[in-house]
């Protein structure tokens, strides 16, 4: 279980999170959505132990701020928004960096296959496209927390805009990977910009505005006209996808 209680955080002494209380269960995919500057990434950074926070945040019962790097690395993998690699490592060498919880090259290659880069192991990362580099790092994170459930409990994936640099086919590949990780018993928490992808793939949506949780629940509960127009300050029409039944958003007008 991921349990945040009255979580607060500051950036440059300015309060950015104001008392977030949020539960995420293993076996579910939670999408954190909201407008730019609403505190999505700050919330994720607090939950991954990158940022000091007030209140409490526990991952499988472990208070995140007090856990060592090695303990957390066993519990969860983190895909940052952007990773700039400073030396010319090969794809295989980068994915190997993720093998902190065991598993040899076989696991690294399997993780690369999962993200559709199995033929790229020998390439130098900096020579790949932006989308390919993003998937190399996803493969590295996957190989770190390869088994979604261990005898000690479920594991977690924290993804900060995992599909931002990807084309639509790759977006679906990555979201399906995240979905499957949750279906196999792991927990997934993803900061998302794309509301439609969130609606399609997430079990729970946490909608943020000005550092507060505006709404939290199933996509159908959260992604409503009222919530969204309040959070984003623009009119959005929420339709329903015929086959699936989930909400589907279309901007209401092209003009002002």
């Amino acid at each position: 279980m991921l349990a945040a209680r009255d979580l607060t955080a500051e950036l440059a002494r300015r309060p950015v999170l104001h008392g977030i209380t949020l539960d995420c269960a293993p076996g579910t995919l939670t999408a954190i959505v909201g407008p730019n500057g609403s505190g999505k990434t700050t919330l994720l950074r607090a939950l991954t132990g990158d940022l000091r926070y007030g209140g409490s945040a526990r991952l499988n019962g472990v208070e995140i701020a007090r856990a060592g790097a090695a303990t957390l690395a066993h519990l969860r993998g983190v895909l940052a928004q952007a990773t700039s690699l400073s030396f010319p490592f090969t794809v295989l060498e980068v994915v190997r960096l993720g093998l902190t919880n065991g598993g040899g090259d076989a696991r690294a290659m399997a993780a690369l296959a999962e993200v559709g880069l199995h033929g790229h192991a020998g390439r130098v990362v900096q020579e790949l496209s932006g989308g390919e580099q993003a998937r190399v790092h996803l493969a590295r994170v996957l190989s770190q927390v390869w088994e979604p459930v261990t005898p000690q409990g479920p594991r977690w994936l924290f993804l900060d805009e995992p599909v931002a640099a990807l084309d639509i086919g790759q977006q679906l590949t990555v979201m399906r990977l995240a979905r499957r990780y949750a279906d196999q018993g792991g927990g997934v928490v993803a900061v998302m910009h794309d509301l439609n992808l969130s609606s399609m793939f997430a079990d729970r949506v946490a909608l943020m505005q000005d550092g507060r949780l505006l709404a939290h629940g199933t996509p159908a509960q959260v992604l409503t006209d009222i919530h969204l127009s309040r959070a984003y300050g623009c009119a959005l029409r929420v339709n329903t996808v015929p086959q699936v039944g989930g909400p589907w958003l279309v901007p209401q007008s092209v003009g002002a």
Partner: protein
């Protein structure tokens, strides 16, 4: 360049790096022997080997030349070259940039300030303390000066785990200038005896090698050479960024503190015993990254070997090019190293910024 072995998965350069390690070991041996046989006086090595094996022992002349001049010079070249290359590789890993080098960004100047401070103001130490630290005061002060400079540089140039190279290089210039100015003031204050000591220290290069000097540098340099590979995994992870390194289980702050100490110890001690020798710390890691990749588990030991070997080679060039006179070795390393530095700069310019 070493050929890619047929086995091992694609993208795996371990075997190539391991092979390079063995080749460098052979090269170090060969260059070492060559340097023993090179110098103003002829010492025929085959004759020496034959004498040693036949149990006759060396002629007194050969023994003096080898044991008191050539061997310490070889040992000091290897030690200082290894220290420069490894401190360069450590610093580049820490700053996540191949242009960070203790000599270029003011750490050498900081170490020099430390050494000069010890020579000029060392007399004010209480007699008891002075007796304890004794001859080790100068290298230790150089280490402290280098440490302060590295720490300051890191605070200035790195924000949120990202190093701005322009800031790094400019701050390095400023720190170097400041250390130089303070050094100048101290030299101005020095009395005649201290001035003589300063001159001897300032002339320090491989040419002034002695077992005593090696004994001064060894306690600071050897631990860095031996233990630096323990930081290799963390430095590899750091290439992803500080936050990302933390995510895969690295205690980033502790690693940074240890790496800064290592840089200061190796760079400071080499400045204390051999003066400022530039560019080894840039050129050696860069060549090795081109040949076998940036994996620090191999980069650090290979840098120690190649750095030592190259410095001994440069020393041979320095003492044979204008024989019987000698060039300062810093001129040789700068003549080779500065163009390589510019070459890296030009390559990185193509990548869209530093």
């Amino acid at each position: 360049m070493v050929a890619m072995p047929a086995h091992g998965p694609a993208g795996d350069r371990t075997q190539r790096a391991a092979l390079t390690f063995r080749l460098l070991l052979l090269m170090a041996l060969a260059v070492g022997l060559m340097s023993l046989g090179t110098g103003a006086a002829g010492v025929p090595l085959f004759q020496v080997a034959r004498d040693l094996m036949s149990g006759e022992g060396l002629s007194h002349r050969d023994q003096v030349i080898l044991m008191n001049i050539r061997l310490p010079r070889l040992a000091m070249g290897m030690l200082v070259g290894a220290a420069l290359a490894v401190s360069g590789a450590l610093m580049q890993g820490l700053f996540r940039n191949p242009l960070a080098d203790p000599g270029i960004v003011g750490v050498g100047a900081g170490a020099g300030l430390g050494a000069v401070t010890a020579i000029v103001l060392g007399g004010v130490l209480p007699a008891g303390l002075a007796a304890v630290v004794g001859v080790h005061l100068v290298p230790f002060a150089a280490f402290l000066g280098g440490w302060a400079a590295t720490l300051l540089l890191y605070r200035i140039a790195t924000q949120g785990g990202q190093t701005q190279v322009a800031t790094l290089l400019l701050a390095g210039i400023a720190l170097g200038a400041l250390a130089g100015a303070l050094t100048g003031i101290l030299v101005y204050l020095a009395d005649d005896t201290q001035l003589r000591n300063l001159t001897f220290w300032g002339m320090g290069s491989i040419a002034g090698a002695s077992w005593a000097k090696i004994g001064l540098g060894l306690p600071l340099i050897l631990p860095v050479l031996v233990f630096a590979p323990l930081l290799a995994r963390a430095l590899n992870a750091l290439a992803l960024g500080e936050a990302q390194a933390g995510h895969i289980g690295i205690e980033v702050q502790r690693v940074k503190r240890v790496a800064i100490l290592g840089v200061a110890a190796a760079a400071g001690a080499s400045v204390a015993i051999a003066g400022g020798i530039g560019f080894v710390g840039i050129v050696v890691p860069h060549l090795l990254r081109l040949a076998t990749g940036p994996d620090h588990r191999w980069l650090l030991p290979n840098a120690a070997l190649l750095g030592g070997t190259l410095l001994v080679l440069a020393d041979m060039v320095a003492r044979t090019l204008v024989a019987p006179a000698e060039l300062p070795i810093g001129i040789v390393t700068a003549a080779i190293g500065a163009p390589v530095f510019l070459w890296i700069l030009l390559q990185r310019r193509g990548l869209g910024g530093l």
